[in-house]
Protein backbone atom coordinates (compact mmCIF):
# COMPACT_ATOMS: atom_id res chain seq x y z
CA UNK A 1 0.00 0.00 0.00
CA UNK A 2 2.81 2.43 0.87
CA UNK A 3 5.73 2.76 -1.47
CA UNK A 4 9.23 2.95 0.01
CA UNK A 5 10.14 6.30 1.48
CA UNK A 6 12.37 8.63 -0.49
CA UNK A 7 14.51 11.60 0.53
CA UNK A 8 12.13 14.12 -1.01
CA UNK A 9 9.10 12.96 0.98
CA UNK A 10 7.61 15.27 3.60
CA UNK A 11 6.27 13.29 6.58
CA UNK A 12 4.16 14.52 9.48
CA UNK A 13 2.22 13.04 12.36
CA UNK A 14 -1.28 12.04 11.51
CA UNK A 15 -4.20 14.01 12.90
CA UNK A 16 -4.84 12.87 16.48
CA UNK A 17 -1.25 11.80 17.13
CA UNK A 18 0.97 13.94 19.32
CA UNK A 19 4.29 13.90 21.15
CA UNK A 20 4.15 14.21 24.91
CA UNK A 21 6.18 13.37 28.01
CA UNK A 22 5.70 10.45 30.35
CA UNK A 23 4.96 11.98 33.78
CA UNK A 24 6.80 9.13 35.54
CA UNK A 25 10.01 8.71 33.51
CA UNK A 26 10.04 12.07 31.69
CA UNK A 27 10.72 10.05 28.52
CA UNK A 28 9.20 11.30 25.27
CA UNK A 29 6.07 9.41 24.19
CA UNK A 30 3.75 9.35 21.23
CA UNK A 31 0.05 9.45 22.08
CA UNK A 32 -2.76 8.38 19.75
CA UNK A 33 -6.37 7.17 20.09
CA UNK A 34 -5.61 3.51 20.70
CA UNK A 35 -2.41 3.69 22.67
CA UNK A 36 1.05 4.99 23.37
CA UNK A 37 4.55 4.48 22.05
CA UNK A 38 7.57 5.11 24.29
CA UNK A 39 10.32 6.87 22.32
CA UNK A 40 14.04 7.36 22.71
CA UNK A 41 15.48 10.87 22.39
CA UNK A 42 16.65 10.44 18.80
CA UNK A 43 13.29 9.12 17.64
CA UNK A 44 11.57 12.01 19.41
CA UNK A 45 13.91 14.48 17.69
CA UNK A 46 13.18 12.93 14.30
CA UNK A 47 9.43 13.08 14.94
CA UNK A 48 9.61 16.71 16.09
CA UNK A 49 11.25 17.56 12.78
CA UNK A 50 8.47 15.91 10.78
CA UNK A 51 6.26 18.93 10.29
CA UNK A 52 4.95 18.22 6.81
CA UNK A 53 7.09 20.90 5.21
CA UNK A 54 10.59 19.52 5.76
CA UNK A 55 11.78 16.70 3.55
CA UNK A 56 13.37 13.54 4.85
CA UNK A 57 16.69 14.80 3.49
CA UNK A 58 16.37 18.05 5.48
CA UNK A 59 15.54 16.14 8.61
CA UNK A 60 18.50 13.84 8.36
CA UNK A 61 20.71 16.90 8.08
CA UNK A 62 19.06 18.70 10.99
CA UNK A 63 19.17 15.65 13.24
CA UNK A 64 22.79 15.06 12.34
CA UNK A 65 23.63 18.52 13.67
CA UNK A 66 22.17 17.61 17.07
CA UNK A 67 23.14 13.97 17.29
CA UNK A 68 26.40 13.15 15.60
CA UNK A 69 26.39 10.39 13.05
CA UNK A 70 22.73 9.49 12.81
CA UNK A 71 22.43 7.01 9.96
CA UNK A 72 20.10 7.98 7.12
CA UNK A 73 18.86 4.41 7.11
CA UNK A 74 17.77 4.65 10.75
CA UNK A 75 15.77 7.82 10.17
CA UNK A 76 14.17 6.35 7.07
CA UNK A 77 13.22 3.12 8.80
CA UNK A 78 11.77 4.93 11.82
CA UNK A 79 9.60 7.12 9.59
CA UNK A 80 8.60 4.16 7.41
CA UNK A 81 7.67 2.25 10.54
CA UNK A 82 5.45 5.07 11.82
CA UNK A 83 3.82 5.35 8.40
CA UNK A 84 3.15 1.60 8.40
CA UNK A 85 1.54 1.94 11.84
CA UNK A 86 -0.52 4.81 10.48
CA UNK A 87 0.88 7.23 13.00
CA UNK A 88 2.46 9.31 10.23
CA UNK A 89 1.41 10.38 6.76
CA UNK A 90 3.68 11.52 3.94
CA UNK A 91 3.44 14.03 1.17
CA UNK A 92 5.32 12.45 -1.70
CA UNK A 93 8.17 14.66 -2.91
Amino acid sequence: MTAALSLGDRPQLRRGVRVSTDPLSQAPILLFPEGVLFLNETAAAVIRHCDGSRTVAHMVQAIDEIYDGVAVGDVLSLVADLVAQRLMVVDRG
Binding site: M1, D22, V36
Partner: protein, 356 residues
Protein backbone atom coordinates in the same frame (compact mmCIF):
# COMPACT_ATOMS: atom_id res chain seq x y z
CA UNK B 1 4.09 -4.68 38.60
CA UNK B 2 3.16 -2.34 35.76
CA UNK B 3 1.58 1.04 36.20
CA UNK B 4 -1.80 1.72 34.53
CA UNK B 5 -1.80 3.46 31.14
CA UNK B 6 -5.49 4.04 30.46
CA UNK B 7 -8.46 5.24 32.46
CA UNK B 8 -11.98 4.66 31.17
CA UNK B 9 -14.34 7.05 32.94
CA UNK B 10 -17.94 5.93 32.65
CA UNK B 11 -19.46 9.27 33.56
CA UNK B 12 -23.07 8.10 33.62
CA UNK B 13 -25.18 5.09 32.68
CA UNK B 14 -27.92 7.39 31.40
CA UNK B 15 -28.35 7.40 27.63
CA UNK B 16 -30.90 8.64 25.10
CA UNK B 17 -30.40 5.50 22.97
CA UNK B 18 -31.53 1.93 23.59
CA UNK B 19 -29.05 -0.24 21.69
CA UNK B 20 -29.86 -3.93 22.31
CA UNK B 21 -26.14 -4.70 21.92
CA UNK B 22 -25.16 -2.33 24.71
CA UNK B 23 -22.41 -3.73 26.93
CA UNK B 24 -23.58 -1.71 29.93
CA UNK B 25 -24.92 -3.73 32.87
CA UNK B 26 -28.61 -4.66 32.71
CA UNK B 27 -29.15 -3.80 36.35
CA UNK B 28 -27.18 -1.02 37.95
CA UNK B 29 -27.01 -0.26 41.66
CA UNK B 30 -29.17 2.55 42.93
CA UNK B 31 -26.19 4.74 43.81
CA UNK B 32 -25.50 8.37 42.92
CA UNK B 33 -23.15 9.38 40.13
CA UNK B 34 -19.82 10.88 41.15
CA UNK B 35 -19.92 14.66 41.31
CA UNK B 36 -17.44 16.88 39.47
CA UNK B 37 -15.00 17.38 42.40
CA UNK B 38 -14.79 13.61 42.82
CA UNK B 39 -14.00 13.08 39.14
CA UNK B 40 -11.37 15.82 39.29
CA UNK B 41 -9.72 14.10 42.24
CA UNK B 42 -9.78 10.77 40.36
CA UNK B 43 -8.04 12.41 37.39
CA UNK B 44 -5.29 13.82 39.61
CA UNK B 45 -4.71 10.48 41.29
CA UNK B 46 -4.68 8.70 37.93
CA UNK B 47 -2.06 11.08 36.61
CA UNK B 48 0.13 10.48 39.66
CA UNK B 49 -0.09 6.76 38.95
CA UNK B 50 1.19 7.39 35.42
CA UNK B 51 -2.02 7.07 33.43
CA UNK B 52 -1.55 8.60 29.96
CA UNK B 53 -4.90 8.19 28.29
CA UNK B 54 -8.38 9.17 29.40
CA UNK B 55 -11.48 7.78 27.68
CA UNK B 56 -14.70 9.60 28.55
CA UNK B 57 -17.61 7.26 28.02
CA UNK B 58 -20.75 5.87 29.61
CA UNK B 59 -23.78 5.69 28.97
CA UNK B 60 -23.72 8.94 27.09
CA UNK B 61 -21.00 11.25 28.42
CA UNK B 62 -22.55 14.31 26.72
CA UNK B 63 -25.37 14.09 29.27
CA UNK B 64 -22.97 15.51 31.86
CA UNK B 65 -23.09 19.32 31.67
CA UNK B 66 -19.66 19.45 33.37
CA UNK B 67 -17.95 17.45 30.61
CA UNK B 68 -15.91 20.39 29.26
CA UNK B 69 -14.59 21.18 32.75
CA UNK B 70 -13.32 17.61 33.03
CA UNK B 71 -11.71 17.81 29.59
CA UNK B 72 -9.96 21.08 30.42
CA UNK B 73 -8.54 19.69 33.66
CA UNK B 74 -7.54 16.43 31.96
CA UNK B 75 -5.55 18.32 29.34
CA UNK B 76 -3.89 20.49 32.01
CA UNK B 77 -2.80 17.29 33.71
CA UNK B 78 -1.38 16.04 30.40
CA UNK B 79 -3.81 13.27 29.42
CA UNK B 80 -4.65 12.28 25.86
CA UNK B 81 -8.42 12.79 25.95
CA UNK B 82 -10.74 10.60 23.90
CA UNK B 83 -14.50 11.19 23.85
CA UNK B 84 -16.58 8.05 23.22
CA UNK B 85 -20.05 9.13 22.22
CA UNK B 86 -23.28 8.35 20.41
CA UNK B 87 -23.12 11.93 19.11
CA UNK B 88 -26.55 12.75 20.47
CA UNK B 89 -26.14 16.18 22.03
CA UNK B 90 -23.10 17.11 19.97
CA UNK B 91 -24.30 20.17 18.11
CA UNK B 92 -21.93 22.83 16.85
CA UNK B 93 -21.68 24.89 20.03
CA UNK B 94 -21.13 21.87 22.26
CA UNK B 95 -18.52 20.49 19.89
CA UNK B 96 -16.73 23.82 19.84
CA UNK B 97 -16.81 24.01 23.65
CA UNK B 98 -15.22 20.55 23.87
CA UNK B 99 -12.69 21.26 21.13
CA UNK B 100 -11.65 24.45 22.94
CA UNK B 101 -11.34 22.44 26.15
CA UNK B 102 -8.82 20.25 24.34
CA UNK B 103 -10.46 17.00 23.26
CA UNK B 104 -7.84 15.02 21.32
CA UNK B 105 -10.06 12.57 19.48
CA UNK B 106 -13.72 11.63 19.09
CA UNK B 107 -15.06 8.12 18.68
CA UNK B 108 -18.57 8.35 17.32
CA UNK B 109 -20.78 5.26 17.19
CA UNK B 110 -23.25 4.53 14.41
CA UNK B 111 -25.72 1.66 14.46
CA UNK B 112 -26.05 1.04 10.74
CA UNK B 113 -25.53 2.48 7.26
CA UNK B 114 -28.81 4.34 6.84
CA UNK B 115 -31.44 6.23 8.80
CA UNK B 116 -34.15 3.57 8.94
CA UNK B 117 -31.89 0.71 9.97
CA UNK B 118 -29.82 2.86 12.32
CA UNK B 119 -32.79 4.32 14.18
CA UNK B 120 -34.36 0.91 14.38
CA UNK B 121 -31.38 -0.51 16.26
CA UNK B 122 -30.87 2.60 18.40
CA UNK B 123 -34.53 2.51 19.41
CA UNK B 124 -34.62 6.28 18.86
CA UNK B 125 -34.54 8.80 16.03
CA UNK B 126 -30.89 9.71 16.19
CA UNK B 127 -29.33 9.01 12.78
CA UNK B 128 -29.63 12.58 11.51
CA UNK B 129 -28.15 13.95 14.73
CA UNK B 130 -25.19 11.60 14.34
CA UNK B 131 -24.63 12.90 10.82
CA UNK B 132 -24.59 16.44 12.22
CA UNK B 133 -22.20 15.38 14.97
CA UNK B 134 -19.78 13.85 12.45
CA UNK B 135 -19.90 17.02 10.32
CA UNK B 136 -19.18 19.37 13.21
CA UNK B 137 -16.36 17.17 14.53
CA UNK B 138 -14.49 17.13 11.23
CA UNK B 139 -15.26 20.81 10.53
CA UNK B 140 -13.42 21.62 13.77
CA UNK B 141 -10.46 19.59 12.56
CA UNK B 142 -10.84 16.97 15.29
CA UNK B 143 -9.79 13.42 14.40
CA UNK B 144 -12.79 11.14 14.02
CA UNK B 145 -13.17 7.41 14.46
CA UNK B 146 -16.52 5.91 13.50
CA UNK B 147 -17.36 2.84 15.58
CA UNK B 148 -19.97 0.32 14.49
CA UNK B 149 -20.82 -2.70 16.62
CA UNK B 150 -21.52 -5.66 14.34
CA UNK B 151 -24.34 -8.18 14.80
CA UNK B 152 -26.74 -10.24 12.74
CA UNK B 153 -28.80 -7.26 11.54
CA UNK B 154 -26.04 -4.96 10.27
CA UNK B 155 -23.18 -7.34 9.46
CA UNK B 156 -24.33 -7.59 5.83
CA UNK B 157 -24.02 -3.81 5.41
CA UNK B 158 -20.25 -3.40 5.78
CA UNK B 159 -19.71 -1.96 2.29
CA UNK B 160 -22.38 0.70 2.81
CA UNK B 161 -21.12 1.46 6.33
CA UNK B 162 -17.58 1.96 5.00
CA UNK B 163 -18.86 4.21 2.19
CA UNK B 164 -20.75 6.28 4.75
CA UNK B 165 -17.74 6.57 7.09
CA UNK B 166 -15.57 7.66 4.15
CA UNK B 167 -18.18 10.22 3.06
CA UNK B 168 -18.16 11.56 6.64
CA UNK B 169 -14.36 12.00 6.29
CA UNK B 170 -13.58 9.68 9.19
CA UNK B 171 -9.91 9.02 9.86
CA UNK B 172 -10.68 5.54 11.15
CA UNK B 173 -13.51 3.08 10.98
CA UNK B 174 -13.76 0.49 13.70
CA UNK B 175 -15.97 -2.48 12.86
CA UNK B 176 -16.23 -4.39 16.12
CA UNK B 177 -18.17 -7.56 16.63
CA UNK B 178 -20.51 -7.48 19.60
CA UNK B 179 -18.91 -8.52 22.87
CA UNK B 180 -21.47 -10.43 24.87
CA UNK B 181 -21.79 -8.49 28.12
CA UNK B 182 -24.73 -6.70 29.68
CA UNK B 183 -27.65 -6.19 27.29
CA UNK B 184 -25.74 -7.94 24.53
CA UNK B 185 -25.61 -11.18 26.51
CA UNK B 186 -29.33 -10.91 27.17
CA UNK B 187 -29.90 -10.53 23.42
CA UNK B 188 -27.18 -12.93 22.33
CA UNK B 189 -29.37 -15.36 20.47
CA UNK B 190 -30.73 -12.64 18.21
CA UNK B 191 -27.42 -10.78 17.80
CA UNK B 192 -25.04 -13.63 16.97
CA UNK B 193 -24.25 -13.69 13.26
CA UNK B 194 -24.19 -16.95 11.32
CA UNK B 195 -20.82 -18.48 10.33
CA UNK B 196 -21.60 -17.59 6.70
CA UNK B 197 -22.20 -13.97 7.68
CA UNK B 198 -18.84 -13.86 9.46
CA UNK B 199 -16.99 -15.17 6.40
CA UNK B 200 -18.80 -12.71 4.13
CA UNK B 201 -17.99 -9.88 6.57
CA UNK B 202 -14.27 -10.63 6.39
CA UNK B 203 -14.43 -10.45 2.60
CA UNK B 204 -16.40 -7.22 2.76
CA UNK B 205 -13.78 -5.71 5.08
CA UNK B 206 -11.01 -6.65 2.62
CA UNK B 207 -12.92 -4.99 -0.24
CA UNK B 208 -13.63 -1.88 1.86
CA UNK B 209 -9.93 -1.64 2.71
CA UNK B 210 -8.99 -1.85 -0.95
CA UNK B 211 -11.46 0.92 -1.72
CA UNK B 212 -10.96 3.30 1.23
CA UNK B 213 -7.74 2.13 2.91
CA UNK B 214 -5.66 4.95 1.45
CA UNK B 215 -7.53 7.65 3.34
CA UNK B 216 -9.27 5.80 6.16
CA UNK B 217 -7.86 3.13 8.44
CA UNK B 218 -10.28 0.22 8.86
CA UNK B 219 -9.97 -1.75 12.07
CA UNK B 220 -11.84 -5.03 12.28
CA UNK B 221 -12.38 -6.57 15.72
CA UNK B 222 -13.08 -10.26 15.22
CA UNK B 223 -16.07 -12.22 16.50
CA UNK B 224 -14.58 -14.13 19.42
CA UNK B 225 -17.39 -16.71 19.33
CA UNK B 226 -15.95 -17.87 16.00
CA UNK B 227 -12.30 -17.78 17.01
CA UNK B 228 -10.30 -20.77 18.29
CA UNK B 229 -8.69 -18.78 21.10
CA UNK B 230 -9.95 -15.96 23.32
CA UNK B 231 -9.04 -12.29 23.03
CA UNK B 232 -6.28 -10.86 25.26
CA UNK B 233 -8.95 -9.16 27.34
CA UNK B 234 -7.90 -5.70 28.62
CA UNK B 235 -4.27 -6.72 27.78
CA UNK B 236 -4.36 -8.62 31.03
CA UNK B 237 -6.32 -8.15 34.22
CA UNK B 238 -5.16 -5.16 36.27
CA UNK B 239 -2.23 -4.69 33.92
CA UNK B 240 -2.93 -1.58 31.84
CA UNK B 241 -6.42 -0.20 32.44
CA UNK B 242 -8.72 1.09 35.14
CA UNK B 243 -12.45 1.54 34.61
CA UNK B 244 -14.41 3.83 36.88
CA UNK B 245 -18.17 3.16 36.95
CA UNK B 246 -20.52 6.15 37.25
CA UNK B 247 -20.83 5.66 41.03
CA UNK B 248 -17.06 5.48 41.58
CA UNK B 249 -16.48 1.73 41.69
CA UNK B 250 -13.02 0.98 40.28
CA UNK B 251 -12.95 -2.05 37.97
CA UNK B 252 -10.30 -3.90 35.95
CA UNK B 253 -12.80 -4.43 33.07
CA UNK B 254 -16.12 -2.71 32.26
CA UNK B 255 -17.98 -6.00 32.85
CA UNK B 256 -16.22 -6.90 36.12
CA UNK B 257 -18.96 -5.55 38.40
CA UNK B 258 -21.03 -8.66 37.72
CA UNK B 259 -18.39 -10.98 39.22
CA UNK B 260 -19.76 -11.92 42.62
CA UNK B 261 -17.37 -11.64 45.57
CA UNK B 262 -14.66 -9.72 43.75
CA UNK B 263 -14.17 -7.18 46.55
CA UNK B 264 -14.69 -4.08 44.45
CA UNK B 265 -13.48 -0.80 45.92
CA UNK B 266 -14.82 2.70 45.35
CA UNK B 267 -12.75 5.81 44.65
CA UNK B 268 -14.80 7.67 47.26
CA UNK B 269 -13.36 5.33 49.90
CA UNK B 270 -9.80 4.51 48.80
CA UNK B 271 -7.26 6.29 46.65
CA UNK B 272 -6.79 5.07 43.11
CA UNK B 273 -3.17 4.12 43.85
CA UNK B 274 -4.19 1.94 46.78
CA UNK B 275 -6.87 0.35 44.65
CA UNK B 276 -4.54 -0.35 41.72
CA UNK B 277 -1.81 -1.92 43.88
CA UNK B 278 -3.81 -3.46 46.74
CA UNK B 279 -7.49 -3.90 46.02
CA UNK B 280 -8.41 -7.62 45.86
CA UNK B 281 -10.46 -6.85 42.75
CA UNK B 282 -7.28 -5.83 40.89
CA UNK B 283 -4.88 -8.35 42.43
CA UNK B 284 -7.19 -11.37 42.19
CA UNK B 285 -6.46 -12.21 38.51
CA UNK B 286 -3.26 -10.27 37.98
CA UNK B 287 -0.41 -12.35 36.51
CA UNK B 288 -0.99 -16.10 36.11
CA UNK B 289 -0.83 -17.52 39.64
CA UNK B 290 -4.62 -17.85 39.77
CA UNK B 291 -4.79 -20.06 36.68
CA UNK B 292 -5.73 -23.72 36.64
CA UNK B 293 -5.51 -26.12 33.69
CA UNK B 294 -5.69 -25.93 30.72
CA UNK B 295 -4.25 -22.40 31.00
CA UNK B 296 -1.59 -23.00 33.66
CA UNK B 297 0.63 -25.10 31.40
CA UNK B 298 -0.39 -23.47 28.12
CA UNK B 299 2.20 -21.40 26.20
CA UNK B 300 -0.54 -19.07 24.94
CA UNK B 301 -1.18 -17.73 28.44
CA UNK B 302 1.41 -15.03 27.78
CA UNK B 303 -0.59 -13.93 24.73
CA UNK B 304 -4.22 -14.13 25.84
CA UNK B 305 -3.95 -14.25 29.67
CA UNK B 306 -6.51 -17.05 29.67
CA UNK B 307 -9.06 -14.76 28.02
CA UNK B 308 -11.78 -12.75 29.69
CA UNK B 309 -12.56 -13.30 33.40
CA UNK B 310 -15.96 -11.65 33.04
CA UNK B 311 -16.91 -13.91 30.14
CA UNK B 312 -15.76 -16.97 32.13
CA UNK B 313 -17.92 -15.84 35.06
CA UNK B 314 -20.95 -14.94 32.95
CA UNK B 315 -20.96 -18.29 31.16
CA UNK B 316 -19.70 -20.73 33.84
CA UNK B 317 -20.27 -18.97 37.16
CA UNK B 318 -16.53 -19.20 37.95
CA UNK B 319 -14.30 -16.28 36.97
CA UNK B 320 -11.14 -18.36 37.48
CA UNK B 321 -11.88 -20.83 34.67
CA UNK B 322 -10.45 -20.54 31.15
CA UNK B 323 -12.52 -18.31 28.88
CA UNK B 324 -15.03 -20.75 27.28
CA UNK B 325 -14.19 -19.18 23.90
CA UNK B 326 -10.99 -21.27 23.97
CA UNK B 327 -11.32 -24.55 22.12
CA UNK B 328 -9.14 -26.12 24.85
CA UNK B 329 -11.61 -25.07 27.57
CA UNK B 330 -13.76 -27.85 29.06
CA UNK B 331 -16.64 -25.35 28.82
CA UNK B 332 -16.26 -24.70 25.10
CA UNK B 333 -19.51 -26.56 24.35
CA UNK B 334 -21.32 -23.53 25.84
CA UNK B 335 -20.08 -21.46 22.90
CA UNK B 336 -20.91 -24.13 20.32
CA UNK B 337 -24.45 -24.46 21.63
CA UNK B 338 -24.97 -20.67 21.75
CA UNK B 339 -23.87 -20.46 18.13
CA UNK B 340 -25.98 -23.37 16.94
CA UNK B 341 -29.11 -22.22 18.76
CA UNK B 342 -28.89 -18.58 17.65
CA UNK B 343 -32.10 -17.47 15.97
CA UNK B 344 -33.39 -14.17 14.69
CA UNK B 345 -35.90 -13.20 17.34
CA UNK B 346 -37.05 -10.03 18.94
CA UNK B 347 -34.55 -7.87 20.78
CA UNK B 348 -34.83 -6.34 24.22
CA UNK B 349 -33.93 -2.68 24.02
CA UNK B 350 -31.67 -1.19 26.65
CA UNK B 351 -33.53 0.83 29.24
CA UNK B 352 -32.18 3.55 31.48
CA UNK B 353 -31.20 3.23 35.13
CA UNK B 354 -34.18 3.92 37.34
CA UNK B 355 -32.33 6.50 39.40
CA UNK B 356 -29.65 9.02 38.56
Amino acid sequence: MDRPLGLLAELTYRCPLHCPYCSNPVTVPDTAELALPEWLRVLEQARQLGVLQLHLSGGEPLIRPDLAVLVTRARELGFYVNLVTSGVGLDESRARELADAGIDHVQLSLQDADRAAGDNTAGARVFDRKMTAAAVITALGLPLTINVVLHRTNIGHIAAIADLAAALAADRLELAHTQYYGWALLNRSALLPTPEQVVAAEQAVARARALHGGTMEIVYVVADYYEPYPKPCMHGWGRRHIIIAPDGRALPCPAAAQIVGLGIDNVTERSLGEIWYLSPSFTRFRGDEWMSEPCRSCPRKAIDFGGCRCQAFALTGDAARADPICQLSPDHHLIDSAVSSATPRSLRFRSNPASS
